[in-house]
Amino acid sequence: MNLNFSFLSKYWPMFLRGAGTTLVLSLFTVVLGLILGIFLALMRLGKFKPLSLLSAAYTEFIRGTPLMVQIFFIFYALPQIGVKIPNISGLGFDFPRFASGILAMGLNSGAYVGEIVRAGIQAVDKGQTEAARSLGMTSWQTMRRVVLPQAFKNILPALGNEFVTVIKESSIVTVIGITELMFNTSQVYSSSYRYFESLIVCALIYFVMTFTTSRLLGVLEGRMKRSAR
């Protein structure tokens, strides 16, 4: 076995740029997923039945189909019927491609986050809501000031896991040619023929990103635990 990492001196910017793209992609996905997830959870727990059913159906459907199919659907199938993400020129990258990836990942992650948020809200003691309502607060005030902050603390660990999952799963958008870490790694090994070394470097970078994320969230969690309860 003769491993040779000297190719890195030429290719390291590829890895770095790929990692940067992966991070940006994951960040947007997580934000989109979180917003969607909160909406899905509120719809699901709300009193209005049609919205509740819609949320449940969406969640089941997204969780019951492969992410790859969803990505292809957004990137290839929707434009075929005329639903296109407009290009924004002058950005220096292929905006529709990138946006499709984020959209697909976000729509997917939202379904999982929705279930996490729902469980978090349901875990908040009913007495908290009763106390708030007995003071004359509206249901939305109660949700925003009392229930959601407590739910957020409940779900932080599960949410952290979801963030880590998104970073790893984002490698799948390589199939629609987004130049993130996985895609660039494949570029590197197909021109350098250093498969083993390239993939080791790629895996290490993913690990550093996921490990850092989970540590940071761990710190945040600890801080919240100390402040309340």
Binding site: S134, L135, T138
Partner: protein, 249 residues
């Protein structure tokens, strides 16, 4: 006898069932300004459900509740929230908002419901905290306090809305015995200040000393209604005698 306009709450033929289980089978009473009413009775008699119907934490399945002439049973949305503002409630499990400090627990509703300026709400909160000797806990979180301290703060939180009536749902039942006194003292002080109170409680000593009316509930109705002396010294029914025999040893 107090005049008609002294009546704050009128309860007419109040009924409530959870599925097949009939918890309230037609409760009738009036509550007047300044009255301190203690509701007693065995568990399952409907005491808590009755209390929780008064501010619509439970929606009755029949009958009517009038708050100064206004229907509580049929109130919706904003009107219901405004009615609730005027009825403070204290819970068995305290239910302080665990994500907020003591001070924020007290000021939250005055600020976001009544639109009180934050500084003014905080000043008043500190004043109220002074009355229960807990000013030094203003910045603490509920989890850092004892049960007795939490319940006193829960009372202050309700008072900060300037309610016309205070409802207490077994306020000392979840407390360690040594903390019961500090909470009852606050309630007694409140009664002495003229607050209208409806208290569901098993504290017979408090009922005898502080209440000016006792409601004995049995099987979903008010079985006896009278001054403490009548209820405790001259119970009319066997059921009440039996109940008192069990709780006053």
């Amino acid at each position: 006898m107090p005049a008609e306009h002294d009546i704050i709450l009128t309860v007419q033929d109040l009924k409530m069932h959870f599925g097949k289980l009939e918890v309230l089978k037609g409760v009738n009473t009036v509550i007047r300004k300044g009255e301190v009413i203690v509701v007693i009775g065995a568990s399952g008699a409907g005491k808590s459900t009755f209390l929780r119907c008064l501010n619509r934490l439970e929606t009755p399945t029949g009958g009517e509740i009038l708050f100064e002439g206004q229907s509580v049973v049929h109130a919706k949305g904003k009107a219901l929230n405004e009615l609730r503002e005027r009825m403070g409630m204290v819970f068995q499990q305290f239910n302080l908002f665990s994500n907020l400090t003591v001070l924020d627990n007290i000021t939250l509703a005055p600020v976001i419901v009544k639109g009180a300026p934050k500084e003014q709400a905080e000043q008043e909160a500190m004043q109220l905290l002074g009355r229960v000797n807990l000013q030094d806990k203003a910045r603490a979180f509920p989890s850092q306090l004892s049960g007795g301290q939490r319940q006193r703060i829960a009372i202050v939180r309700a008072l900060a809305m300037h309610p016309d009536v205070m409802l207490f749902d077994e306020p000392t039942s979840a407390l360690d015995p040594e903390m019961v006194g500090e909470v009852l003292d606050v309630m007694q002080q409140l009664a002495a200040d003229g607050m209208t109170m409806v208290v569901v409680s098993h504290e017979m000593g408090f009922a005898r000393k502080v209440a000016n009316r006792i409601l004995f509930m049995e099987n979903g109705v008010i079985a006896e209604d009278g001054a403490p002396e009548e209820i405790f010294e001259h119970p009319k029914s066997d059921r009440l005698r039996e109940f008192l025999g069990k709780v006053l040893h």
